[in-house]
């Protein structure tokens, strides 16, 4: 297989361009994320919380979304946050964790379903406040 010099140069440029764009995105996106409220997501599938544990920075709003055909409900095991209403399929519940700590929770409809949110202090180079 032969490739003309011009074509090769164009290909190299394209690859470099793509790589540069990727690097730029890698640099830019976290900055953009810091400008928006940090978010965490827990999916409820097959009567399990995914992921668990979920580790987030303080100030993060965690949203649970029920992907099952059966309703679930979120409740703190230690009453650290208010319980959700019953979540039907595709319904969500959100809570913003402002205080670092480990939060155990469970499904109040099916209490064998348990999960954990770990909230870390929002310190370090990425701190926004």
């Amino acid at each position: 297989m032969t490739l003309s010099s011009t074509a090769r140069s164009a290909l190299v440029a394209a690859v470099l361009g793509a790589a540069t764009a990727t690097m730029l995105a890698a640099v830019v996106l976290p900055v953009r994320a810091q400008n928006a409220a940090p978010a965490g997501a827990v999916s409820i599938d097959n009567f399990t919380f995914n992921p668990t544990p979920l580790t987030v920075k303080a100030g993060t709003t965690v949203t649970w979304t029920n992907k099952d055909d059966i309703p679930h409900g979120i409740a703190s095991s230690t009453n650290a946050f208010p319980k959700s209403r019953a979540l039907d399929t595709d319904q969500s519940f959100s809570f913003t964790f402002t205080t670092p700590g480990t939060y155990q929770y469970f499904c109040y409809v099916h209490p064998h379903m348990v999960g954990t949110i770990v909230v870390e202090a929002s310190t370090g180079s990425n701190a926004t406040q």
Binding site: D69, G73, F106, V109, H112
Partner: protein, 312 residues
């Protein structure tokens, strides 16, 4: 003598043989103080041998459920009720072992009441966890809880049999199973105190009182304690729902049964990633809700469950 007397003198009260029932409703009779299932509602045999008290068990109607496993749970409840109404002998009353509604919406309770009332039977309800999902947890209690204790437990007598309705679906604890709670257990102890040991007892509640499969929450954490107050009775029958399939077990003088749902089937323990609604081919759904034959071999502690589809 009846067939049950033929078995042997030691444990005839422990054995219910050739039990047959279905998701559409279970017809029970009390003969000689021992509850016997007469078979599936709609089956010819259910119309026979109906001496003594007969009663019906409905369970897990999940009115409002409309997901792929059964897009019309109200429709299958209507079909079940039509079969009840076609019975040659009308049952004395019915029990409903919970999950009347799917999401505890008033409209779902309205629909369930409208359909179930067409049986013209007195229905004794206990709640499922799906009946306590409204934010104030009040709709179930307003409709069905009058005259009950605590979150909805009670007892009554019929034809010499003492019936006990329990609620094991509220105040559930993280990581746990169904739960009765100290108040209800204390009430149960008082309720049976002083009753003759020869009084047949029927206990009904939503979540199985015996441990079926804790990995899926199928059991009651303090169920064993509750049942300890019933050990002195000669005949105890425990009827539950929740798991949408038939299971049966005999332990000492206590016979445990779970009923099928009128709404959708659930998988056998451990056979699926979760206990969620089991989607079966459309033409199979009513077969899944139709008939299950359960045969108990005497002196055998293990379940012997044989599915016998209504068709095919």
């Amino acid at each position: 003598m009846s067939d049950s007397d033929r078995e042997d003198g030691v444990s005839r009260r422990k054995v219910l043989e050739c039990m047959t029932w279905a998701g559409t409703g279970v017809l029970w009779t009390i003969a000689g103080g021992v509850p016997h299932s007469l078979g599936i509602v709609g089956e010819a045999q259910a119309a026979e041998e109906t001496k003594g008290l007969t009663f019906l068990q409905l369970s897990d109607s999940h009115v409002g459920f409309d997901k792929p496993a059964n897009p019309n749970a109200l429709g299958t409840l209507e079909e079940a009720v039509a079969k009840v109404n076609a019975l040659a002998k009308k049952p004395a009353f019915a029990i409903h072992t919970g999950d009347i509604s799917h999401l505890s919406l008033e409209s779902q309770f309205d629909d369930a009441d409208r359909v179930i009332s067409q049986t013209r039977l007195d229905v004794h309800y206990v709640p499922g966890e799906h009946d306590f999902l409204d934010p104030d947890m009040k709709f179930y209690r307003e409709r069905y809880g009058r005259g009950t204790k605590g979150s909805g437990w009670y007892s009554f007598d019929a034809n010499g049999v003492h019936f006990i309705g329990l609620n094991n679906v509220v105040d559930l604890k993280a990581g746990g199973l169904g739960n009765l709670g100290a108040d209800q257990i204390e009430w149960l102890e008082d309720d049976v105190k002083g009753r003759s040991a020869s009084t047949p007892i029927v206990v009904f509640g939503h979540i199985p009182l015996w441990t079926v499969y804790p990995e899926w929450g199928w059991g009651t954490s303090d169920g064993a304690q509750a049942l300890s107050y019933l050990k002195r009775f000669g005949s105890v029958t425990v009827l539950n729902g929740h798991i949408h399939q038939v299971m049966q077990k005999v332990e000492g003088n206590i016979t445990f049964h779970t009923a099928r749902s009128t709404a959708f089937p659930q998988p056998a323990p451990g056979t699926a990633p979760s206990p969620g609604p089991m989607k079966v081919p459309d033409e199979q759904l009513r077969t899944m809700l139709g008939i299950t034959n359960v045969t108990f071999k005497q002196n055998e502690q293990r379940l012997a469950i044989i599915d016998s589809p209504l068709k095919g």
